[in-house]
């Protein structure tokens, strides 16, 4: 009897873990509603804040693009970072640990599936909010913006994999921690205003989150007149470095924390 190669198992695990997410993206109607409407409502509220302030039209575009990436951040927090916490609660984590595959492949599958789900939600936010409030974008910058968007999402999900391994050590507080990673991140990443407004220090700290630089670069490309935080080529370089850095860190962290979790019996510790 021949055994499949390690690479084949790795790839099949990625497909297997992303499959339920892709299938469930339209099957679970209640999640479709919350995952689409939550970022959309937040976006609409902020658009009305700018309208009340009689802000120039491009500021509405800042908010809409922030809302698009917000859908990804929510997915990374609630379906990547906390996923092993949910899996442990449901009894899946111990099955993952026993399976002849790696947790890294499972995380990658979660990331692919999650990115697909978020993409469907964020497209809905982009289309609905842009049409409702008459936001227009520079066509010339769309293609490079799309490229930066893809790189930003890659970096973001690498960060998500890192967070997932860290969350293995949390019990009930995982929920609260994920909750607390919302508005503070919206602020630090400049979801609703130009990143430059944060200043060098706060903006610099916020730049550790890939969304900050990605969002600023995308805005510069599709919304002419966006105040520049740093030049696009530097933002691009930083995002590429973040992809590599967070990918390596996530694997190191995953190995270390998986070993610790096995020692401390946290892989099977049910916590609700």
């Amino acid at each position: 009897m021949t055994h499949p190669s390690a690479v084949r198992i790795f790839l099949k695990t990625i497909v297997a873990r992303s499959y339920p997410r892709i299938v469930a993206s339209f099957r679970n109607k209640t999640w479709v509603i919350t995952e689409t409407l939550l970022p959309l409502i937040g976006t609409i509220a902020m658009i009305y804040v700018y309208r009340a302030l009689h802000a120039p039209a491009r500021y509405l575009g800042f908010v809409v693009l922030g809302g698009v990436l917000l859908a990804f951040w929510q997915n990374v927090i609630w379906a990547m970072a906390t996923q092993f916490f949910w899996d442990r609660g449901a009894g899946n984590l111990e099955l993952f640990a026993m399976a002849p595959t790696s947790l890294a492949a499972i995380l990658l599958g979660m990331a692919f599936g999650g990115a697909y789900v978020s993409l469907t939600r964020s497209v809905a936010v982009l289309v609905v909010a842009s049409l409702l409030f008459g936001v227009s974008y520079s066509a010339a910058g769309l293609l490079p913006a799309l490229g930066i968007f893809v790189l930003t999402i890659c970096a973001l999900y690498c960060l998500g994999m890192l967070l997932a391994s860290l969350f293995l050590f949390y019990q009930r507080e995982a929920w609260q921690l994920a909750d607390a990673l919302q508005e503070p991140i919206y602020f630090l990443s400049g979801f609703y205003f130009p990143v430059r407004s944060l200043g060098a220090v706060v903006g610099g700290v916020g730049s550790l989150i890939p969304l900050t630089l990605g969002l600023d670069a995308i805005r510069q490309l599709v919304l002419p007149g966006t105040p520049q935080f740093i030049p696009i080529r530097w933002e691009l370089l930083a995002i590429v470095v973040q992809i590599a850095g967070y990918a390596v860190l996530s694997q190191v962290s995953l190995r270390f924390l998986e070993r610790r979790a096995r020692q401390d019996a946290r892989l099977i510790l049910r916590s609700t």
Binding site: I33, L37, I41, L53, Y59, E173, E183, P184, F193
Partner: protein, 283 residues
């Protein structure tokens, strides 16, 4: 008399339970930081948005106070509405104890009121800290010695009754769903848009503005700003006196409570009929 004692005990137990569920996952200091970090960040977001547009021009403190007071007091709705309605669903799905609450001597309303009060306790700390930090950091024209406390307390009491009433009805409606994750936040999000918390409702399109004017939250927000800021408050209803705003708050609160009671009773009957009280849900 014994009936009253039984209800009081039920209320006390529910309040304590709600508080423990909300807060005993960590140390008190961490809990306070957790309670404050989200509303404080939300306030900072609005401050930066405002500063970006106004350019830090003089005379902007009044509008900043409008934004910050709305966000600070919004914690009551976030905790009271989303927290309580999610709590009902969690009691069924996560803790599997809703059926025991139904069979206990305490009235279900009394139990939920206790659970709601615990949520409002968390919100109070958050509101006070956000207001204090923002007033000092941004130089907002809020003087604790000149706050109209009676107006603030009466207005807040009425509005929070409405919030708890809406949350109870919404929470019972959510029992119809197998998986209601995020729906409490979604409901609070809708209320956020039509409450006048972060922008005057006059910027909303006609239908939404009309809907907003029927909500007690709009008049509560107006009362909060008038009582905290006095004559320097940016007003959503400049033609109305304080008494008129309070009267509108009273009327809309009574209407909301009646509507909430009807929805609650209907959803409760439906949940019992369909066997949803002890249904296994997605946890």
């Amino acid at each position: 008399m014994s009936e009253t004692i039984a209800q009081w005990r039920g209320f006390k137990a529910a309040t304590r339970l709600g508080w423990e569920i909300s807060s005993n996952w960590t140390q008190p200091l961490i809990f306070v930081i957790y309670s404050v970090v989200r509303p404080l960040s939300a306030a900072f977001i609005l401050v930066v948005m405002y500063r970006v547009i106004s350019g830090g021009a003089p005379g902007t403190a009044a509008y900043l106070a409008f934004l910050v007071s709305g966000v600070a007091f919004w914690s009551f709705v976030q905790y009271g509405f989303a927290g309580l309605s999610n709590g009902i669903v969690e009691d069924r799905g996560e803790y599997k104890m809703l059926k025991y609450v139904y069979t206990s001597p305490a009235y279900f309303y009394v139990y939920l009121l206790g659970r709601g009060l615990a949520q409002l306790g968390s919100a109070l700390a958050s509101t006070v800290i956000v207001l204090v930090v923002a007033t000092i950091a941004l130089g907002l024209p809020i003087d604790p010695l000149h706050v109209n406390y009676p107006l603030l307390l009466v207005g807040s009491f009425l509005a929070l009754l409405a919030v708890i009433g809406m949350a109870m009805a919404f929470g019972l409606l959510l029992l119809q769903a197998v998986d209601a994750h995020g729906y409490g936040e979604l409901g609070a999000g809708v209320l956020y848009v039509i409450s006048g918390a972060i922008f005057p409702i006059s910027v909303l399109p006609g239908l939404l503005a009309t809907l907003a004017s029927l909500s007690p939250l709009v008049y509560w927000m107006e009362i909060i700003r008038r009582s905290l800021l006095g004559t320097s408050a940016v007003r959503m209803f400049p033609a109305l006196s304080d008494g008129d705003v309070l009267l509108r708050l009273l009327v809309t609160t009574v209407a909301t409570l009646i509507a909430a009671h009807l929805v609650f009773t209907w959803a409760d009957r439906l949940a019992r009929k369909k066997g949803l009280i002890d249904m296994e849900s997605n946890w």
